[in-house]
Symmetry: C2
DNA sequence: ACTAGTCGATCGGCTTTTCCGATCGAAGGT
DNA sequence: ACCTTCGATCGGAAAAGCCGATCGACTAGT
């Protein structure tokens, strides 16, 4: 079996198109087509739904793809590992992070780059689900995401901090009177919340629900910067993670009050693929994380 | 990179000889030599200590070998998985087992073969350390070994039963008087024990030590059948695992008495390589083990 | 010290695999 | 009915893989 053919299979699954997949692999469409055919012959199973158009992988193809992702990740890991032994940790680390963790990422990457100046970083803001998926597809080396709210499979983890929630409200509003706000009360505010496809929102909804309330947001968005802007410029209230406020400050004219009853916290941490051995860059990141950003740095 | 080259590397590390490794791979020595050279060129690191004789792998080579074992195991797993999807679980399952667990193996393999008649089994009696090593070298699919006494790394586990220890003594001896024997007292008997390279012996030694005693065995052996024979024919006492006695019975004219103070037990279970996805045969074995031989079947 | 034998590297040539450009044929949209 | 898109296929060129033979260096035995 040829490793390259697995690359072609992965590309085909990703691009869902023979021509584009071939282009992405810098080969002709004929080459890719034949490689898939060979792979099918060798494994003795059809991998793609045959027809005059790409219609997805067969169940066997999907299964093969899972294996292929693992094998390719290992092959890359081996290369990176040996390179690291020769000339120190280098190359490119692809890190996915949930939006609320973005302000924290630099606290992680700064010491990493200090130790290993040759490392190049690619940081992508992704949802927790995208992080999990891309980790398994080998499109990501590590992620910064929620550890507990929704199950994570096939990954190892290093807790880093707890995310807590605050209500950001206009200084003039009635919410600004006390030192904290109850979730139940916050539900009545004119809210700007993240959209429901984001786990942060699902967490917040669950907390509202635990307080017996159902928020009816005036504005929904899938971007935290939008959230921030809405609060600052439109005078709405928002539920924000403390990390975000630490990183970017409380908008002028607004106050941030801890949300209580329940005063819940979500564990956030580093995750990476559950494979041995670990690629050198990932190992370096974990070591850095453990030392530079031990838990209780919230 | 070509998967075949990794096979050659693994063979070379195993055989420690270019010619033999080549023969094991059914290629000429020239082919294998060149393949290693290519691999080194591609990875940019020397993998074997160069000289006019094989002198082992370089540190980079050892590292590469670890990755190679993983990648090759995955490639095999993929093939087996797809074959299983097509024509059911089949192929050959290589199972390693510590000697005291051998009587139990059949209770595991019988239901497995009943469900999957096409499966062929290769059962090897190995020490717990060999099991761990071969598992990682891809020379074994699963193992039956001690789970707790000495650390196991990079494996998943399914506890199956607890191993308990009995003193087998001549019916006429003073030990046969009571219903049990204390470790401290047993240390005074004329003993036949396993040799110190076996974990079972290390466990037994530790239990003697906990009772403040140091056994001075009259006979040491690395084979449990020898142990059994010595007890039966030479009239010595022996510390045996209950599984062995259940499997082969108490030698005629002897009695088996539980060893107490402490009445310790060692957990024994199934282990397999910590990788996702699991090969179909391994999965089938685990499922069978969980159902057919749940814990507390001692 | 010499010799025979072993071991791994290397060379030249052969075979197989891989890759590409071009073309084909089916399906879908207009 | 016509045109476009998509993937399969073909034939030839390039590359890689493999082998037998040979070389050079070390080793063990005399």
């Amino acid at each position: 079996m040829v490793l390259k053919h697995l690359v072609y299979l992965a590309a085909l699954a990703r691009e869902r198109h023979f021509g584009r997949a071939a282009a992405a692999c810098h080969v002709s469409q004929a080459t890719l087509s034949e490689a898939i055919r060979r792979l099918e012959a060798e494994l003795g199973v059809p991998l793609v739904e045959r027809g005059h158009r790409y219609r997805g992988l067969t169940p066997e193809g999907e299964r093969a793809l899972t294996w292929a992702h693992g094998i390719l990740a290992d092959a890359d890991g081996m290369r990176a590992d040996l390179t690291a032994m020769r000339e120190g940790v280098g190359g490119s680390l692809r890190l996915g992070a949930i939006p609320t963790s973005l302000p924290v990422v630099s606290r992680l990457t700064a010491p990493l780059r200090e130790r290993h100046p040759a490392v190049r970083l690619a940081i992508r803001s992704l949802s927790s689900r995208e992080i999990e998926r891309d980790l398994h597809e080998g499109a990501l080396d590590a992620g910064l995401t929620y550890l507990e709210n929704e199950p994570l499979r096939g990954v190892r983890r290093q807790p880093l901090y707890d995310e807590r929630y605050l209500l950001v409200a206009p200084r003039a509003s009635r919410w600004a009177a006390g030192a904290s706000v109850r979730w139940r009360d916050a539900a009545d505010a004119a809210l700007c919340l993240l959209s429901r496809d984001m786990q942060n929102r699902r967490i917040v909804d669950a907390l509202f629900a635990r307080a017996g309330a159902t928020p009816e947001p005036a504005v929904e968005t899938n971007s935290i910067s939008t959230l921030h802007a809405q609060v600052r410029d439109a005078g709405l209230c928002a539920v924000m993670a403390d990390t975000w406020l630490h990183g970017f400050g409380v908008p002028a004219g607004m106050v941030a009050l801890p949300l209580v009853e329940p005063a819940a916290a979500q564990a956030v941490g580093l995750v990476w693929r559950d494979r041995d051995p670990e690629p050198p860059l990932v190992r370096a990141l974990i070591a850095t994380a453990r030392e530079a950003l031990a838990p209780a740095t919230a």
